[in-house]
Symmetry: D3
Subunit: 191 residues, 6 copies
């Protein structure tokens, strides 16, 4: 079985047999840089248009220019995924927090209960907003944005916090809906 | 004030002053076809990369090939937005359900309580899945997917139901986070 | 079929065949003033004693003397019905808010998420109390009444806010229990 | 202090000084039959029109003709009030269940957790409907009414179960909103 | 049937036939002091090691040295049991509050809704902490402990409040899991 | 600083200076067998009576005779702690599941979302009961016990499932109330 025949969800959908050279190159780059092709990519690969739409939004959000550091974006990813109890995202992004921070316990705290961590006021405000946006989006009011500004975030940063938290509310649900399985390699990373 | 100077959210972010010709053409096409440029596009237009990632995912999901009809995708959009109480999305997509179905009461039911509608078993199963995925994604199990298959949906259709419901769980939260305001024109459409 | 034979709920109960002249006159007055007999009245008309008890309480609350204006009472009606997702009451009283305010968007905001509206401190306090009384009556404390007084409401006004919010918590549940259907005419009113 | 000067809520509203002879006679009848004037009546007595609307609906529901026995209606009253944690109604109607049933433990079970009681299928179905109507009215569907019919209830009985459960969802909230205090005498009754 | 053959839960487990002399003496002491052997002890008596572990923890918490008075510990017991709707514990400890306080209404308020009681700031702070610890333990933060200190509690007292509230979150669940039935005698005590 | 001076919670309580020889021996045994003294023991050590009551109940439940294997008891511990988001217990007992099962991914699934695991019917039934008992103890009914019996559990086993789930509902809350910190060593164990 080649990696492209792998089934990574509970649906009977497999990577398209005629993936473009661009996609193959992208997967090769993943293998080279991460040592694996994230299963989420293989899950979307049954339709290259969907795969591309997902990766473009993902890369723009998680790797693009932002007032938020990469570790901050990963912290949001894990906290949102913890609230939604998304196994796939907790495994994959929990590993990312451990790696980027070099602090395994921090990764565990984000997974288990972010309130256990000894956070800076900036990170507390950021994660509290992500939490409320996840659990009760209809209750967000101007005071919630004001709390972020008071913690030093610009309006552009607020957009990025919102967009990142919102993105994982999407991703968590796609993963839950199809029972997406994370790559085994994540478990042992950066422990 | 030109339309590109419009502020459509509570954040101090305005459309980029140097929008590309492609984006301008896209906005012109919106004006021509819908009679308006949806405020969500102007909200994202402070950064063309973000705008493009959003519109590509949106167009692929809502207008691309699928076993789900366009009205079915809009029904999911409205039911998810109703659960999340997203004013922007309810106004914009409620109008879409009224227009596509030619049935104003159906649009209202999706906004207010989808259980009030006299739905086919197919639509009941589809909306029940979207509802559970929105409210309790961690509780989705194989029986939930089996219920969709029993209602006639293919595995590819299940992906599309999941991806659409998940997308609005993202969009609703971006809109809530920044207090996005819908275009006034939606209110009177297709009543 | 005369209007009195109409079935407006999922129960096999129809208006009494021997309605009194007073009730007939009341229905005629509804037709004359509203252009319709609200289905809720036909639903109760299987027993005139129940109908009379309902209309007396309703008329006293919604039309009687009060420090609350009629549009304020309708705003409470819609916000409570939105929290309870009552299709009948949202359709009927949403129309009333549109009519009394002359502002279709305001009606939609009350239906969809009252926080989307740009409300006066008086209306914010009034609706926040109605919301808490609906969702968590056991948590109401003196501070909640104090917040209403601080917004300028008298103790008599507080009673009226409470009684109106409480009434729709009753009405919403009667309507939900019997699947009460609103008159079609409401949908197009005051758009 | 005469009984009509008693303050029974947290609001500065006292019985009207010019109560009608009919109301005075009604209060006398309460004293004679119950040994007390229920505080809820004194609370409403600041405005006789409100008092009359309340008592007419109350008497019709709790004492009028119905396929439900009086004890069944009181059981619904207590179970709804327990879900809403309404101190006033639990004290007053808990006493009524103890009195009408001659079974103090049954009264306690209705107050504390109705599932602790060894109920007939009829009573289980009745209270399960009242519970769902209280906690999640928007989720009531035809299957819920069908469960009542299967337990032997007529459509008219279903109306009465619904109307009684709905009434206490109103009453509980009026009492909570104004911090209504029950008469001391209830505590020791029928223990 | 001797009392040791009594079945006090829905499980087919009865007191061990060879109870030690120490346990028999303990039961005799209960009979002498309380007039009954609490059914919870008979429920655990199928295994003396479990019974002893339970009674040692119980006696240490409820009767041992503490900055909390016995009535305060019983108030916590009842408020937690009310939130968890535990019939066994509400009956047994509701009686204890009535007895220790000599105030039947206070016992009822703790059972029905502790907010109905006119509490000292000390007791409000204590019960608010117990309530939050019961309903949302993951949200406890330093501010919650600070509120207890501000109300005059020492760190040792905070431990005791926490341990007592936590203990009833255990006991309530054992009782619920096995449908534990309270001794009939509790109902009439101290009314 | 000796280990007995360590502060493991947010409270200003430290191990008693005059610990008995029995307790010192117990701590030595922990060090020998586990390589650490679990911080929970140091937290309780400010009062030896409390420490002993806790350890006796803990040892009886987790290590005593039972129809449940040790890994099954640890699975319950982790699932309950995940629902309550208890950082201390998830770290300590997550490590235990990894160790006892030799399956790091299983430990992660119990921490993150037990539904992600491919469980036997026995384990599904056991964890579903523990979940319901944690989240909604008042809703447990005979059908819930019947589901355990159908999965092969005896009445004695049901007691043990209930007692274990209930115990962690206590422990989770003590840990949350005092912000108990787990030993660092747990993080790297059995990865």
């Amino acid at each position: 079985m080649t990696i492209l025949e792998k089934r990574t969800t509970a649906l009977d959908l497999r990577p398209a047999s005629d993936l473009s050279d661009a996609t193959k190159a992208y997967f090769d780059k993943c293998l080279e840089k991460l040592g694996l092709i994230p299963n989420v990519l293989l899950a979307y690969a049954f339709d290259e248009k969907k795969l591309r739409a997902f990766t473009e939004m993902y890369n723009e959000l998680m790797l693009g220019d932002s007032g938020l550091s990469k570790i901050e974006r990963e912290m949001i990813a894990v906290v949102v995924s913890s609230l939604n109890k998304c196994y796939y995202c907790l495994v994959a992004h929990g590993a990312a927090v451990r790696q980027l921070s070099g602090d395994p316990a921090l990764g565990e705290m984000m997974v288990m209960n972010y309130r256990a961590a000894d956070l800076s006021p900036r990170h507390k405000a950021m994660l509290a907003f992500a939490e409320k946006l996840t659990e009760a989006p209809a209750l967000i009011e101007e005071t919630d944005r004001a709390a972020l500004r008071a913690a030093g975030f610009s309006d552009r940063d607020i957009w990025d916090i919102a967009a990142t938290a919102a993105f994982y509310n999407m991703s968590n649900r796609v993963a839950a809906a199809v029972d997406m399985r994370p790559n085994d390699e994540y478990h042992a990373m950066a422990r």
